[in-house]
Amino acid sequence: MSIATVIPAFVTRESFIELEARERAQALMDPGSWRELVGPFDRIESPWLPMQSIAPQSDDGCVVLKGTIAGQSSVVIALEGGFQAGSIGEVSGAKMTAALDLATRDSQNGKKTAAVLLLETGGVRLQEANLGLAAISEVMASIFALRQYAPIITVIAGTVGCFGGMSLVAGISSYILMTREARLGLNGAEVIEQESGIEEFDSSDRALIWAIFGGEQRVGMGVADELLQDDAKEIAAAVQRCLKAGLPAVHRSQQIDLYRDRIAALDTSQQIEPLTLRKRWDSKQAKAKEGSAR
């Protein structure tokens, strides 16, 4: 018996979740093809955090790499969940917007440049409140512009997840890739409990949180595209598949009728059971039904 058959795959695979933002971005790009832009040595930091006695970080928790992925010009933007929970401030937001705008400019000039967003973020950085919220609206505007030419691929690996205003950024992406350890939603359980009461959402109920926000659920109900293992190679391969597929015929955030009808069909007199909803919204089942109706 060879060693390879004795050691299960999960022992040898390289975890993606355990990587920091910079390493994650590097793991997706062709080796030797990338450069980091506006990196830590440029020292563009948040001016607002020190005013509130909070240590800034020299990259503001946002890493931008420009290079190629499977030969295709790309920019990878990774948020560092370990710094201020990956929150968007003036500088991290401006780095995202500027990189996306330059990808748009290159694409317009014939050099199609796709964007990969690694989102581990709680949304707006409350210490920069209104500039964070404005930055998210501007990141979104830049995605809408780039999306006319090249795909935007959002990867949510975990463990912070993607919440707040940045969940809208995920929502307007061309593709969303998630692991089982990733969560995606507008309001986290704690915020709902705080605003609407524990009877609305008990934030200590971990099973409920994963049943609603978890990658398996989001992919299963069709609001995200692929469920991946926590494996750097598998995630890199999935990103390459999306790049190769190019722009989807219709972006999910433009499928208004489909989702408006689904919302209209919900029984709102009680809480919605996540697994039942997943089965009802499952795109493969829906397609099968559509096929049989024809």
């Binding site: 500039l131 404005a134 501007e138 507008l186 909803l277």
Partner: protein
Amino acid sequence: MNKQVGLRGKAWFQALTGVDSPMGGDPGSVLTADTELGEDTARFLCVVPDPKARFPCVRRGEVGLEEAYTLATRVREVIDHGENLKKRPIVAIVDVKSQAYGRREETAAIFLAAATAADAYASARIKGHPVITLIVGHAFSGGFLTHGYQANRILAFDDDDVVIHAMHKEAAARITLRSVADLDRLGHEVPPMSYDVRDYARLGLLHKLLHIQDPDTPAPATVAQIQKELIDAIADARAGSTDLRNRLESKGAREMRKAGLAARAYMEKQWSGV
């Protein structure tokens, strides 16, 4: 503070359009009307409280699932019917408490609903429709991202009851481990933290801050004043670009967003470098 968020939005929607009920098939919380404005027929949209809403967590004027998909539908109609015509203006009247904080909403992916509405507004802007936001009361967080923040031009009343922010004061205090008094003090020192619309105006994100008499009760003279401001903003939007660069090129941005503009300048320089 406002007696109830959303009522002022409804009052201004009615004053500007003469309409006080939703379009056929729409939920009671989204008002849409097509109204003459200068030489245009503008589409006005507003989210209002509906105490009888199907979803319990939107009954105080929050933006939820039905609100977002209805806004998206009504904005897309303007785009779809205007392909070869003069691009009609869209006016979003904003007085929203927040996004809906509910379990039903999260289960049914409110993030996608919000994205869909923002997508519709941005698509209209990119296709050349002047999209103008008029903030008459509250503009909070995900509610504002869903309804209004993709506009070419943002106007706001200069009034103590107008609040634009990422999170309401009590919640922001809890999450950042501060007292409400601390937050008030910080707001004066750190403008992006402030709950005062005059501090918000300093950030350079607004097209204009509008000084008006009695914002709670729209009088005919004030309505005429606001109509003129909207017409001016539409003309300004038509003369400008379809992206949001005006927010970065403003005087306020040059003073208050120096770090962000520096990051942008570095990015541009390094992007094409070796």
